[in-house]
Symmetry: C2
Subunit: 218 residues, 2 copies
DNA sequence: ACTCGGGGTTACCGCAAGTAACATGCATGG
DNA sequence: CCATGCATGTTACTTGCGGTAACCCCGAGT
């Protein structure tokens, strides 16, 4: 029958695709985002054109890879975000989840955040105008939107809540990301300390803090 | 004399270098970060090897370019940060300065944030280990450190101020950056609204906000 | 037997980074 | 006045990568 036949093809193609992604994953994790298509194909035991048949171009492959990891990370973040606990507790545990993830697999993190953009096609006439951010790690955007939604669902800050929630979502995610990136590079303190410091920041300790004695005032 | 002679050479080389950077700037701003060395050389009225003599490799050129713009932006941020005003006012004006800058010249911003990293040398054996963040826009790091210093100089949050200041510096810069990136792409509100929303976030409105009625509680 | 389609390969194109080797102009020292 | 640098510039090349065209093989269906 047509249906079973097509199903078989589908699943076989999907399995192949998955195998290829696994191989690509290994190579990217080993060699960084500069891994060449040749290298990935070799790791998968095949040659380039097959990769192109499956993923179109390098951007497609990288996007597929990124989606996998992004989905996984987002799932665990959602769990932390949805846990039944006080708000501060939830915030801290979400921060900690993210930081633990990037700490455990910095190569994955690096790949997700700096995918070395795709737009390298020969006859490429894009890049014109305001396409800022189309490259810059979609992971950040997705996390931002996700957090924005949670904030909007749960918080009440009067009119304009929706707008505020989106700004805050992206802002908080950016804070977490930048602090995490810096922390991962310098390791100036433990993860717990970092989490506390960030949560304190979100809890308004910056605004409440006193001026330094002897300073220029203000 | 040796001294005057060397001085002459120095200044002439420096002038040349500056001219080349101007040309590179034009090309990068026009074509995006994918501008080829050939294109840049052509814009400068010369050929590739000269660029390589001056800047070593593409990474060198891009780094030099980035330093110029980064210095400029940091200078204006410092001004806003050092202005004699209330803390909230200073924070808002710093945020606004940054956002105005990226709004005015998104191409520059895009280039600074996603320099398409350099490490593409053939015999490249780096990228091994934990060098996360060596690529990721040094601009963010510099802004973070700068802000951290200002915070540490002016704020008194008891023991551990220094640690806290650095975390907060990088965190706030990341918040500003991510929110700005998102805002630049979607333009969901005016600059003033964005600035207020971010300042409100830093002022602890997230922690103070009430739970939404009818929600799952907490 | 044949042909048809999915999975695979070799060999190639175009392009950009980076380099070697060669040319030229302008100061200096004999 | 010639020769010797040395900075500045050029042409022409190599290497490596993304991407593609053309061909190949084998198992299934009629």
């Amino acid at each position: 029958m047509n249906t079973t036949q097509r199903t078989d093809q589908q699943t076989s193609a999907d399995r192949r695709r998955r195998e290829l992604l696994e191989a690509a994953d290994r190579v990217v994790l080993r060699d960084g985002p500069h891994a060449s298509m040749n290298a990935i194909a070799a790791e998968a035991g095949i040659t380039k054109p097959i990769l192109y048949r499956h993923f179109g171009d390098k951007g497609g492959l990288y996007a597929a890879l990124a989606v996998r990891h992004t989905d996984a990370l987002l799932a665990s973040l959602r769990a932390a975000l949805d846990a039944p606990a006080q708000r501060r507790q939830r915030v801290e545990s979400t921060l900690d989840t993210y930081l633990a993830a990037i700490e455990a697999r910095p190569q994955v993190y690096r790949f997700l955040m700096h995918p070395a953009e795709g737009a390298g096609t020969p006859g490429d006439q894009s890049e014109q105008g305001f396409d800022v951010g189309r490259h810059s790690a979609p992971l950040l955007r997705r996390m931002g939107e996700e957090l924005a939604q949670v904030i909007e669902e749960r918080l009440d800050v009067g009119p304009g809540t929706q707008q505020l929630a989106r700004v805050w979502g992206h802002g908080i995610v950016g804070m977490m990301h930048a602090a995490g990136d810096w922390w991962l590079g310098e390791r100036p303190c433990s993860r717990e300390e970092l989490v506390r410091a960030l949560a304190d920041l979100l809890w308004g300790r910056l605004a409440e803090a006193g001026d330094k004695a002897g300073g220029p005032g203000f």
